[in-house]
Each structure stands twice: as structure tokens, then as C-alpha cells.
Amino acid sequence: MTVQEMLSVIEPDGGINGYDPKMSNEELLHCYRTMMRVRAFDDVALKLQRAGRIGFSIPNRGVEATQIGAAAALKKTDWIFPSYRDFGMALYHGVSPVDMMHNMYGNAADSAKGRQMPVHFSFRTPIQFFSISSPIGTHIIQAVGAAYAMQLRKEPHVVLSSFGDGGTSSLGFHSGLNFAAVWKSPVVFLCQNNQWAISCPSSQQTASESYAIKASAYGMPGIKVDGNDVLAVRRVVSEAVERARKGGGPTLVEAYTFRMGGHSTSDDPTRYVPKEELAKWEKKDPVANFERFLAKKKLWDPALGAKIAADSFAEIDAAAKVAEATPRPGIETIFSDVYRDVPQHIRRQGQAAFDLAHRKGDASAGDGAFPL
């Protein structure tokens, strides 16, 4: 198969033409449920954002199969260097929606202590889900460094580095793929080609025939896969993961998909996304695609789908309520974690801020004496 062709697994009728994903029913349903939970997360986050409860979110409609398929190819001992759109991967591996909602609210229970914008998650368990950064592409090369540490220690682990079509223009893409190929690092680069970088279409992002072909510039295999087909993504990423685990070096996977919503809850995609395109991709909905497969395996029917949808929404909505009820971080969180130890000058600034807040009467609940 050339890099121009695209691998699919699920056929229009839900068949998979003899391919055996070697997944238990429970695994298959876990994928499905996680896709539905991502969808529920989107819906709840949009609702909260429109109600002014949170500032911002990043919708995932259309790209659920790519994220869940890729996550399903990993073990818990692997690392994920995610982009801001990848929280489905965290859900898949067992991060709790409550922990995620704490981040959306930036509250005192947020693992990032309310310092980051929403969707900038960071987790160390149950899988290493590296701290998400806003600057595009910086994590692509960082992933290679993390993988180098695995190589040096001869660990059988792998790093998944995930980014968008826009991310391929970044500096981190260029240095990341180059270093990984020279070092033969155990990294799988997942380019989620959802065809838009905010309002910039792929035609303005690159003139290359595909994103997968960019692998040849670095001397690594590149492969294009149907990003709306969860089994295809899992298959391709699994193969790349296994090669990497065996010392075969990195792979670039392009998952070809489409961003059905806006870039973020602040974006109005009707300004630039052609309606016909949307209509075309509506028919390739990744959840519906997977449902056809599951239905054929008798694992799914509309009633089950409706129940899972309702359960997912309820679960995420409940998580939001927990987060909503959690207080803000204390003022000391502005000043801690700049360094491991708080230096003199930052300590003094913290003390002054705390004193002022007390004088103004707006130190957060729970703030006692300045603890740093």
C-alpha cells in the first residue's frame, strides 16, 4: 500500500472482511462507551461554557474514533504526549471524569491547580498523560526525549505523540520526527488530520499529497488510515506500537478525519467551513460507523446506544456538579511550583498578595496564613 492509499477496516455494512481485531466484547464495548463519553463530555462542556460556568472547551465531534482507536493500542505503561483535543485518550485509560471536570473549572482539586485553561490536562495515573501545553508542536519533540529515556533504560515502553494537521507545520514536528528517526526511538506520531487548523484548511497548510508522506523526509514509515474507523486506527497504531516496542523505530500515522464542530467553543466555523463538506462527513460519523460493526456482532442495538448515551451524559454531568461545588485554588497556588523550592523574591510577592487579599477581604475560602 502506498502512503496515498488509506486503510479502512469497517465496511459500509458493518463487516470487517475477515480481519480479526483480537478484541474481547468487553474491549469493543469499552471503546464504544468511551466514544460516547467523549461525546457527552462535549455536550456538557458546551452547556457549561454557554452558561458561563467554564471559560472554554474543545469539541471532539467527528474525531472520536481516531482518539479512541489510538488509545486502545497502548498499554498503561506507555506514555501519551497529547494535544488539547485528546482527552478521549485519558478517558479510555481510566482517568475519571471528575478529575477532568476539576480541570475544566480550574478549581482547588484540579491536578494543574487552576493554572491552565480548560482542557489542558495533566495526569500521571492510570497512564502517563503528559501535561498539555498550548503552543502547538512543542510536545512532539519532547515525546522523543521521553522515549530516549525508555531506550536507554531498555524498557519495553512506547510513546504516542499526537497532534493535528496544523501541528505538522510546527518546529517540534520537524525536529521531533528527525530526531526520532535518527535515534530509532519508540515513538508513534499520530497526525490527526481533521482538515482544519482553526480556519486554515489543509490546502493552505501544506502542498504535500498527504500528511503520511511527510514520513519519507525523515526516513520512517508513514501510513494513512481512515480516522473515522476506530478499528482501522487501532490496527494501524497497534502495528506501529509493536514495531516501536521491538526496536523498529518510529512511525508516522495520518488519521484522515474531519472536525465536525468549531475549533473551540469560542469559534464560529460557519464563517469558513463549507456546508457541503460538513454534509459529506456527517455520513461518515465515527460512532455510527462503529455501531454498524457492533450491531452486526450483536453487541449493539439502538436501545443500548440510547442507554449508554444517557448514562454517559449523566456520569459527566454529575462530574461537572462535583467540580462546580469545589472551591477555587488558594492564593498560594500562584506562587508554588515555579521552582521546587520557593525562592525569596517569590515568597515576598506571595506574602504581599496574600496580605492585600486579606485587606480587600477576597482571600479565598480556606486561605489561612500564607503557607509558603
Binding site: M117, I334, K360
Partner: protein, 324 residues
């Protein structure tokens, strides 16, 4: 005269420049059909065509690097960096290249260009949509650094920047984009890139500020006035090259100085103001030179209102130097 917001003034300035000078062109991420994430470039592609206002691939290095080549070859690029926080991939092109081209080529090649970018906090942007990086650039000979604080200045300084023979970093206070309106003349006018602006007269305490801190300091100055302290509020506007004479003059007028900015304190722009005064007018000083700044930490999200200097913190400093 129209009553415009700061962002409308920027948009108007771009249109005026593109209408009067066919070499002016605008590009960056999402500046084309979408009109920019803050809509600063709205309508430009429509009016001037895709060859003069267009989207680029996601590479700030590419945006600024290409702008340098265009400028060296007779165009007048006005490129946009979507958030100032994302300018760092272009740091090498700005600091090593745009700023040094005229010098290193003995004046044979130059890079007259403008890099526009929104900076500063106040939109709950957290670490990467809130930074004020002016100090990183002000340490770079060959570059000019401009920050407007009113719609009138935004347009006039932008037009002066576009006409300038040297590279200009034009930092727009995003917190002010839509929060204040002001009279803006139609057509072309310029605000000089080498003089500060006296935002308020006063004989007791001098407050130096720029960008989004100007309204904060004005508010603090009003509160101080109620307490009988008259503040001279100076809007620096062009940080590099700085109107040093004007700064020294304004400091001498009161002998008591407060310097205000959003960026972290350590090695920030405020230190330069203090140092200039300590070097040239220390014998006029009747109190410590106080700084009110962002903290020496990254920019937090939920608690940004504690991080950013507000009128209360500025007033505290004014009272401190006044009562010293």
C-alpha cells in the same frame, strides 16, 4: 471622526494603510476569511484580495521569516502572531534576523515590517494566552516596540509603524480591545514613535505605564486624587526607542515614582525605567522607586485577577511613595 473600539481602530488602520500603499500586505494564522481570532483583520481579504491578506501555515518562524524576505524585497508586510505567547518560535527570526539585518549588511538590506500581536491578561487565558513579553524584545537593538492604550493611538501608532523604515513589534493590549471606545479620525494620520504621552497631569507622584495598565493607573490616580495625591500618569507608548528625556523629566517633576506593568517584575521593562531614573535623576528622588507588576511566576488562570496589577495595588504603591 468615528467612535471606535481599539480593535476597530486597528482594523481601520490596516485598511487605510492597504488602501494608500499597494505594497502593504497582511498575513498570519486565521487572518483571512475568518478575519483573525479577534477580528482585527475582518474584511481585508474581501477588499484587497487573497494575495494581500491571507492565511499561512501554522509556523510563526515562517510568518516572520517570510516577512523579512518580503520587506527586504520592497514589500511592507504587516504580519500577525495570533497571541504574543506564540511568538517565541519566531524569536530567532525577530532577534537574530529582522533586528540585525540593516546593521550586519551595512545598510544594504533592511527589514521594514510590522509584527502585530495581542498581549496581556484579562481574558482567562492562563499561561499561554495572557503573557506580556515586551521585555524580551526591548533588549534587542534594531527593533522598535510599540504599545498603544487608546483607539486614537492604536491607529496612529500603527500607521506610523507601517511607514517606519525599521522592524516594529506592535503589541496590542487585548484586554482593551473592546472595553473602551474613543474618537478616531478617518483616513491617515500618524502618532510619532518617539514620544511618550501624558495621560494625566499631577505634581505629587509620577506613574509610568503602558497598554492595558493605563486605564488601571488612571483609575488609581483618580482614587489617589480623592485622597489629595495628584498623579502624573505617563503612557510610554513606544518602549523602544524610549523617550528617555521625557521619562527623566516626568520623574523629576514629582520626585516620587511608581512603575507599573503586567509582566513579571524580574528583569522586566520596569527595571529599565527605574534604572534610567536612578542613573539620571536620583538626587531628585524623595522616595524609593516602586514597581507594581505581575508576579515572578507564570500566568495563572483561575486567579488571574490576583496576578494582574489592579487599581488597588497601584494605589497602595502611590500612597507608599507619597507617604515615604
Amino acid at each position: 471622526m468615528a467612535n471606535l473600539t481599539l480593535i476597530q481602530a486597528v482594523n481601520d488602520g490596516l485598511k487605510v494603510a492597504m488602501r494608500t500603499d499597494p505594497t502593504v500586505l497582511v498575513f498570519g494564522e486565521d487572518v483571512g476569511p475568518k478575519g483573525g481570532v479577534f477580528l482585527a483583520t475582518e474584511g481585508l481579504t474581501k477588499e484587497f484580495g487573497e494575495s494581500r491578506c491571507f492565511d499561512t501555515p501554522l509556523s510563526e518562524d515562517g510568518i516572520v521569516g517570510a516577512a523579512i524576505g518580503m520587506a527586504a524585497n520592497g514589500l511592507k508586510p504587516v504580519c500577525e502572531i495570533q497571541f504574543q505567547d506564540f511568538i517565541f518560535p519566531a524569536f530567532d527570526q525577530i532577534v537574530s534576523e529582522a533586528a540585525k539585518l540593516r546593521y550586519r549588511s551595512g545598510g544594504q538590506y533592511t527589514a521594514p515590517m510590522v509584527i502585530r500581536t495581542p498581549y496581556g491578561g484579562g481574558i482567562r487565558g492562563g499561561l499561554y494566552h495572557s503573557q506580556s513579553g515586551e521585555a524580551y524584545f526591548c533588549h534587542t537593538p534594531g527593533l522598535k516596540v510599540v504599545i498603544p492604550s487608546t483607539p486614537y493611538d492604536a491607529k496612529g501608532l500603527l500607521l506610523a509603524s507601517i511607514d517606519d523604515p525599521d522592524p516594529v513589534l506592535f503589541l496590542e493590549p487585548k484586554a482593551l480591545y473592546r472595553t473602551l471606545k474613543g474618537e478616531v479620525p478617518e483616513g491617515k494620520y500618524k502618532v510619532d514613535l518617539s514620544t511618550l504621552r501624558t495621560a494625566r497631569e499631577g505634581k505629587n507622584v509620577t506613574v509610568f505605564c503602558y497598554g492595558a495598565m493605563v486605564p488601571v493607573c488612571m483609575k488609581a490616580a483618580e482614587q489617589a486624587a480623592e485622597k489629595g495625591i495628584e498623579c502624573l500618569v505617563v503612557d510610554l507608548r513606544t518602549l523602544l526607542p524610549l523617550d528617555e528625556e521625557g521619562v527623566i523629566e516626568a520623574a523629576k517633576q514629582t520626585g516620587r515614582v511608581v512603575v507599573v506593568h503586567e509582566a513579571p517584575r524580574f528583569c522586566g521593562f520596569g527595571g529599565e525605567i527605574s534604572a534610567i531614573i536612578a542613573e539620571n535623576a536620583i538626587e531628585y528622588m524623595e522616595a524609593p522607586i516602586a514597581r507594581v507588576t505581575g508576579f515572578d511566576t507564570p500566568f495563572p488562570n483561575t486567579l488571574e485577577h490576583h496576578y494582574m496589577p489592579d487599581d488597588r495595588r497601584v494605589l497602595d504603591a502611590i500612597e507608599h511613595v507619597w507617604s515615604y
